[in-house]
């Protein structure tokens, strides 16, 4: 295994740990994007550019937008907007 591959794997492990340890949902969504970026780096280092591009669009665009939409909806309801 190349040293760069080990670094990328450790970066992913660290990112996953940070996602679990973040307790606030908004902060967790942001940390998740960083974790997604670490996955992109991992795929690029392991020479899988197609998968890296997929991971980039999913963890950078699709997932955060859906997540932020859901979080905003729940916060709005808690402040007395819903029901």
């Amino acid at each position: 295994m190349e040293p760069l591959q080990i670094v990328a794997m450790l970066y992913v492990a660290l990112g996953a740990l940070c996602v679990v340890l973040a307790r606030d949902v908004v902060r967790q969504a942001l940390v998740f994007s960083l974790y997604g970026f670490s996955l992109v780096v991992l795929f690029v280092v392991f020479q899988a550019p197609d998968v890296a591009l997929s991971a980039l669009v999913v963890s950078g665009i699709a997932y955060p937008l859906v997540l932020v939409g859901a979080i905003a909806r729940c916060h709005g309801q808690r402040k007395g907007g819903g029901k």
């Binding site: 669009v57 665009i61 859906v66 909806r73 907007g81």
Partner: protein, 247 residues
């Protein structure tokens, strides 16, 4: 349940999982050693057989296009489910609401960014058989262009662009077109989703044969699906902010 009982259950589970994990990992092939032959075979055959430079997209939309059809329909079902659930909870139409963004600079830069993202998305889809990319990645980038319009411009402008009356037909056209191409290949005497057009010259934009059309229909399905999901969530949030959620 006392702490001791919990700890006992937890530690017995932990030992079991650890044993399975150690057993599984110790029997893995050495790092970087790939036992299956298909990756190498496809990498060698894709250029002479299909005139495609990118083997990954060739597998996704040509050799195993049937698998991708399943994924496409999963996304279609997910977007439909989101629309069904959220629309049931909303009483009122939100298309008449105005969410103003006052900064002209933000709107200008946002419109520019949306246009650039749009062109980038078309580029990613069109070059799917030449460089990394293809219908799925490009489709998500395409829906990001619509999301940028919302983030930097008015809700109403976004609603005009990506309203359900626009996103729904695009998604349906993409998902339906994918299935239609498979049936068309059958009708022409080929296998389901088999490539039935001339393959073209490797590395050219027009290479890929009928898999290139499959690629574009999947881009439509993905971008329509994500645009629909985004716009449902956004309408939901706007409706909550203006107190227009019923039931």
């Amino acid at each position: 349940m006392t702490t001791r009982v919990r700890l006992a259950i937890f530690s017995s589970g932990l030992v079991l999982v650890a044993a399975l994990l150690v057993d599984g990992v110790s029997n893995l092939p050495p790092f970087g050693r790939y036992a299956g032959p298909y990756g190498d075979i496809v990498a060698r055959l894709v250029e002479p057989q299909r005139h495609m430079a990118n083997a990954v997209t060739a597998v996704v939309f040509d050799y195993r296009g049937f698998d991708t059809m399943g994924e496409e329909l999963i996304l279609f079902a997910a977007a439909s489910a989101v629309a069904l659930l959220l629309r049931e909870m909303r009483d009122h139409d939100t298309s008449d609401l105005v969410e103003g963004i006052r900064s002209d600079a933000l709107r200008g830069v946002g419109a520019l960014a949306a246009i650039v993202t749009f062109v980038l998305a078309l580029q990613v889809v069109a070059h799917g058989f030449i460089t990394p990319g293809g219908g799925f990645q490009g489709g998500v980038v395409l829906s990001a262009a619509f999301a940028l319009v919302f983030l930097t411009n008015e809700y109403r402008a976004y609603n005009r662009l990506a309203s359900s009356s626009f996103a729904e037909p695009v998604e349906a056209l993409g998902a339906g077109g994918y299935v239609f191409l498979g049936l068309l290949a059958l009708a022409l005497g080929f296998g389901f989703l088999e490539n039935f057009l001339p393959f073209g010259v490797t590395g050219r934009l027009r290479s890929g044969g009928s898999a290139a059309i499959v690629n574009w229909s999947s881009a439509l399905a993905v971008s329509g699906g994500f645009a629909l999901i985004f716009s449902e969530y956004l309408q939901e949030n706007v409706a909550v902010r203006h107190g227009r959620v019923g039931k």
